[in-house]
């Protein structure tokens, strides 16, 4: 390989590091106004009146009456309005929009929103409304529990998590004659396009969405940009002028989506020899006030709920419910970090219950090539659970530290995890993504709707094309994601871009190469004129999925990971500090090892934040710590050295063997931290593990000391 497998420098890297890259807030248009969103004040009720206590000269004011098309954010269910008409379902719903050319005047405008308050539903366990329920069944649970010597039960909880992309959400809407263009910080330009077409009632070709350089997404810019883009477009339509709408940090944190809070209950049957005979799992997710992507988040969560283990008798039941809180949405991992946390802490507790080493128990039950998963999917040769486990254990010197640190203030724990690459179930088939390649004078231009948001898609996709076309990477351009120019390659989510869109581009490049027949691009263009090659997604042979029964191949393939986290407990402050992480992933093939490592390092840090620091505090259906002063994400001092090993086991249907990587590293740190804390003798089963929880646990465990684990 010439280019694939090399850490080719990020295409836009120098522009970013020199401050020359232009993000949406850096753009200005002549006559541009600034926008502001007025929100509801209560979690549930009815809007009764809105009072504008300011001089309206120079202001553009928009409410739901100004919507020319449909007042629904097009996604899975058509339940969420762009602007409240009467019913209020959460405390951050947009009611009214204002625009003015002077930001100070805009900020100073006083608006009073009057509502008639109802009793909000805030506890997901008491919610009467489910957005989706599902069950995955395999074998016979009764028989499985009958075969078990020991049954272990447990309940695990995780809280909301905020994305904290360092660039807040923002867009600029520019009106034209019967047309609208939106520039924005977003992951999925075609999602926004679809939402705007419905909202504005315009033909498809009169709406254009352009992704600007995007300062982080992590799922937070998957679905929400449709809303902010809609709001800016309504203001632009009414004022006839470009409108910039960029949230400040407080508004971004309070109003935009979060990771779904979860309650997961496990009941596991195990024999004395360590074989797991039954798994009964119940997953409850809090979806917030509107459906957004919750059904798919639930699906992915439940499909990862067993952890990477073989078991003949399984039942997973899942439910995602409505509460009167701002909607939960996509966040790196998409339901899996919650259920993998539960599964992996449960596995350590099962090991404790039968007095078996946690590594031995995992080795005994880890999925191997040819094993059948809960959905009936038979795993291929690239099922690498054992390989990542053994590498991480060896690399971290796990066994020695585990023995040596017992009874000290140091702890070490591990987690074994996996992640389905690409859309869940029949998602990829329904998306039917397209990618195109244009021949240029010097080489080729990639035309895809996939977006660069820091993960390295632009560079990685160019590497795939460069390799297949056998031209230098510098001759591969990547077009700006502009819905008027690029095909819909599906959203940039689900660890799918390299594997799925990269696969399409490889096929395009191979066809282009054969069409060139040895001619240089310039010579071909002179002789034959322009050349564009387009490919549409076809599932790999033998992939079958049934959405109704949850049987079949939930994902074309999986990535595998193992994290070992070492921690220190501060006996004075009760802070748990991670001191080292060993992360081992198997992701098929690393097209660009540095980018892959970046995903692992960054995802691990985000996972450590989820495990230890990041707590969204809700009161009356509202986030009360919506600022970076008291919603804490890891700094340099909270993030230990992360030792990354990338294992390769090429996947037959991925470009040059590549699978997905983006989300998976998020799943490992939570349970590995909790298991390291268990090693300290503290039984904590909810994230984040804050000093307050540790204090409470230490106080109660001194009264009721846990029984030490038997050694083998």
């Amino acid at each position: 390989m010439r280019v694939v497998g090399r850490s080719v420098p990020r295409k836009e890297g120098l522009a970013k590091a020199r401050g020359a890259a232009r993000y949406v807030d850096d753009l200005r248009f002549p006559g541009m106004l600034h926008g502001r969103t007025i929100r509801s004040t209560i979690a549930r009720g009815e809007l009764t009146a809105v009072h504008l206590d300011f001089d309206r000269a120079g202001f553009t004011v928009v409410d739901h009456h100004d919507i020319p098309g449909r007042n629904v954010v097009a996604l899975i269910q058509d339940d969420q309005p762009f602007l409240v008409e009467r019913e209020v379902r959460h405390a951050e719903e947009a009611v009214l929009l204002l625009a003015h050319e002077d930001r100070e005047a805009l900020r100073a405008a006083s608006v009073r929103v009057e509502c008639c308050a109802g009793a909000p539903i805030l506890d997901p366990e008491r919610s009467p409304q489910a957005f989706k329920e599902l069950a995955i069944e395999k074998g016979d649970l009764v028989r499985g529990f009958a075969e078990a010597d020991v049954v272990v039960e447990g309940e695990y909880r995780t809280g909301r998590q905020e994305h904290v992309y360092v660039e807040p959400q923002g867009v600029i809407a520019v009106p034209g004659h019967g047309a609208m263009t939106v520039y924005g910080s977003l992951q999925c330009p075609h999602y926004v396009h679809r939402a705007l077409v419905g909202l504005l009632g315009l033909p498809h070709d009169r709406v254009r969405v352009v992704q600007t350089e995007t300062g982080g997404g992590f799922g937070g810019k998957e679905d929400y940009p449709s809303i902010i883009a809609g709001h800016a477009a309504l203001l632009a339509l009414k004022s006839g002028r470009p409108v910039k709408l960029v949230y400040d940090r407080l508004e971004d944190m309070a109003a935009t989506t979060k990771r779904h809070p979860s309650i997961v209950r496990h009941r596991t049957g195990v024999r004395r020899d360590g074989r797991i005979t039954a798994m009964e799992i119940n997953v409850l997710l809090d979806g917030g006030a509107y459906c957004t992507l919750s059904p798919v988040v639930l699906s992915r969560g439940c499909l990862h709920a067993t952890g990477p283990y073989r078991c003949d008798n399984v039942r997973v039941r899942g439910r995602v419910v409505m509460t009167n809180t701002p909607p939960s949405g996509a966040f790196r991992g998409f339901g899996a970090p919650q259920t993998v946390f539960a599964a992996e802490v449960q596995v350590d507790r099962v090991a404790e219950a039968i007095g078996l080493d946690p590594v031995r128990l995992r080795e005994r039950n880890a999925l191997r090539p040819g094993d059948t998963m809960a959905t009936g999917q038979v795993l291929g040769r690239d099922a690498s659970a054992l390989a990542v486990l053994r590498e991480a254990v060896k690399r971290s010197d796990f066994h020695r530290k585990r023995r040596a640190w017992r009874g000290t203030k140091r702890g070490i724990g591990l987690s074994l995890f996996f992640h389905g690459a690409g859309f869940t179930g029949s998602g990829e088939v329904m998306l039917a993504s397209k990618a195109s390649l244009d021949l240029t004078e010097r080489g080729a231009r990639v035309l895809v709707g996939s977006t660069e948001m820091g993960q390295g898609a632009r560079t990685t996709l160019a590497q795939v094309v460069s390799e297949a076309l056998e031209i230098p990477i510098g001759r591969v351009e990547v077009a700006e994601p502009d819905t008027s120019r690029v095909p819909d390659s599906g959203p940039t989510v689900a660890s799918r871009t390299c594997m799925v869109v990269g696969g399409l581009l490889k096929a395009c490049a191979e066809e282009m190469k054969s069409r060139l027949g040895g001619l240089s691009p310039a010579a071909y263009l002179r002789r034959h004129g322009p050349l564009r090659v387009t490919r549409r997604y076809e599932p790999p042979p033998g992939i079958v999925w049934d959405d109704a029964t949850y049987r079949g191949d939930a994902y074309a393939t999986y990535g595998w990971g193992c994290d070992v986290v070492e921690v220190e407990l501060d006996p004075v402050t009760y802070e748990v500090r991670p001191t080292r992480v060993t992360a081992v992933v198997e992701i098929g093939r690393a097209v660009n090892p540095l980018m892959v490592a970046g995903q692992v390092e960054g995802g691990t840090a985000q996972g450590l934040g989820y495990a230890l620091l990041e707590e969204v505090v809700m009161r009356d259906g509202r986030m009360t710590n919506a600022q970076l002063t008291n919603y804490m994400v890891p700094t340099t001092l909270d993030t230990p050295p992360i030792d990354v090993t990338i294992l390769e086991s090429p996947y037959r249907h991925g470009p040059y063997g590549a699978k997905g990587v983006g989300e998976m590293p998020m799943s490992g740190p939570g349970p590995a931290v909790a298991n390291a804390v268990r090693h300290l003798g503290l039984d904590l089963r909810s994230l984040p593990i804050t000093p307050e929880k540790v204090l409470e646990c230490v106080s109660s465990s001194t009264e009721d000391a846990p029984t030490p684990t038997r050694r083998h």
Binding site: G13, A17, G19, D25, G216, V596, G602, A605, P641
Partner: protein, 161 residues
Amino acid sequence: MRFVLNGRRTDADAPPLKRLLDVLREDCGLAGTKEGCGEGECGACTVLVDGVPVNSCLVPFAHVRGRQVTTIEGLRGRMPEAFVREGGTQCGICTPGVLMAAAALGPRPTAARVREALAGNLCRCTGYAGIVRALAGPRAAPRPRVRAVPRRSAARRRARD
């Protein structure tokens, strides 16, 4: 009001209480300095005032009268190349601020010194690993290893099954 911006005498006509961040971006046309939080927590807006890193979202314009302000556009040296080489920049929105905070560090700092000096700069993409590698050198912070899945474990796997 007069000050020295990236080594050049500059006169900007802006209210004295306007945030330095906005003066730089709007009045001076230097958009390389970014706003991440507006409350002095994330460090994306870091610039140097008389060589000292400050959060420009917390500094009123009047404060820099007659002083030297350095932004990413005025940064000299090869740090940007090192950031690209070692994976110190991903989405890039924090990168100018990180570089400005690092500019006050002096050459070849230790990893510990880098972590201390950059504790006020949030990066949500890199886990700081690439940033530490870029500034303290790859020997101070591990680079990723790439390995084939060992055949041994594949063979053992077959033997077990």
